[in-house]
Symmetry: C2
Subunit: 251 residues, 2 copies
């Protein structure tokens, strides 16, 4: 299978390296930034192409791995092709590729650290396909890279993003509040780390609702009142009240 990659950033680089090491044949790398394309092309020993309009349309799979906002422009520039053609963006609808009959999405659900080399084998990959040909090709490629391949529509990818805001962004904000509270009492934040690790690990074996503990879950009103009083700002009191009442309602 001949694969061409458009882009030379993190995702493009990580995919190029991983595909190459899985034995796929990379045909060309194209990027708006020709210097970057050349660097990446040299690294994986393939040809660099100066512009998306110049890629060979007689290829099996074209992967557009550029920033979300650059996808529509790349789509315009590409030559007409029967190749399977996908983008790698979680929050962009597959319909951005409507020009191409064999369109799809190959979305590696990246974690937040962009600098580290990505171990694709443990990374969930979400695929979407306009037809069964695309589905077969993407399944084949994705399963070579990862053992966690899930079919997901554009709407499902949006919902995944929303869930990730709670599981990552809001969780991290809870850590930040705990960090401040510890600092205010001259306590080392590290004391909380084993608890934080165990909280994250526990939900691998039981659903989070069943793992819920604490004063709100127990309905321990005196402790909740004491803790509300101890919080230093109206904003933190508001968060404490809202989340406690949400836990109580979820029981």
């Amino acid at each position: 299978m001949d694969i061409t990659i458009i882009g030379s950033g993190n995702v493009a680089t990580q995919l190029a390296v991983a595909l190459k090491s899985e034995g796929f044949h990379l045909l060309e790398i194209a990027s708006a930034n020709f210097e970057h394309a050349r660097e990446l092309a040299e690294r994986v020993k393939v040809e660099a192409v100066a512009h998306p309009s110049m890629v060979n349309p007689m290829v099996d799979l074209i992967i557009i791995a550029v920033t979300d906002s650059a996808i529509p422009e790349v789509v315009k520039q590409l030559p007409a092709t029967q190749a399977v053609i996908v983008h790698t963006a979680g929050s962009v609808d597959m319909s951005v590729l409507d020009r191409f009959v064999n369109r799809g999405v190959l979305y590696p659900f990246q974690t937040i650290t962009k600098t580290k080399e990505v171990d694709f084998s443990h990374l969930p990959i979400l695929i979407e396909a306009a037809n069964t040909l695309v589905c077969d090709v993407l399944n084949h490629v994705a399963l070579q890279l990862s053992n966690k391949v899930t079919y997901a529509t554009s709407a499902q990818r949006k919902q995944l993003h929303l869930a990730a805001v709670f599981a990552n962004n809001f969780v991290n904000h809870m850590y930040a509040i705990a960090y401040d509270l510890m600092q205010q009492s001259d306590l080392p934040f590290e004391i909380l780390q084993p608890l934080i690790d165990e909280t994250a690990a526990k939900i691998k074996s039981i659903p989070p609702r069943q793992a819920q503990t604490g004063p709100a879950q127990r309905g321990d009103v005196p402790i909740m009142e004491m803790q509300l009083n101890a919080l230093p700002t109206p904003e933190l009191k508001e968060i404490y009240k809202l989340l406690s009442s949400s836990i109580i309602q979820s029981k």
Copy 2:
């Protein structure tokens, strides 16, 4: 050093086993439940005592490891003693032991799983002491069990509990909301696990405030509005709004 333990529940058992294996000499185990005391005493090969009033006061250290609400009763029952005497409860003030001159607290900051054997070496232990004699004894004992020993007053322990509500209980509730959102879109929750692990691991190397990502942190209003609309209940919208605005204010 001769040590007597009051109690036969989880903490008492874990402490007895750990102290024994560190080479401390356990003198007696006393418990309101004599059967339990006998079982534990047999396990660590020491004498069981039928009632706290009957323990030998000529011992170096007495550890009261009973449920929070049972501590005052045990304190009443114990004989007068010059021994160092501590309880193991995070949320109980040291002053509950005012009867005894050499009082203190030895609080293993337990994680939530009560069934597993506890590895004390990675467990933070908080100590509090009424005088330097107590402080020396507790430091000696705690440092044998763990390399994470911190001195903390009763007020600091309360604040730690409050921080733990955010870092554990509220975090777990965020996981539960993410779980529901994934289920509503027929997505496997496991897709989020690598992200959850990385979020928990990241704050070992950088403070959580610096690790913050997401639409609120970026000030991405269109995404926030889209996500607010996608949330299925007024309660979830309220949580999303409050936490997003709190993240924005923290920048």
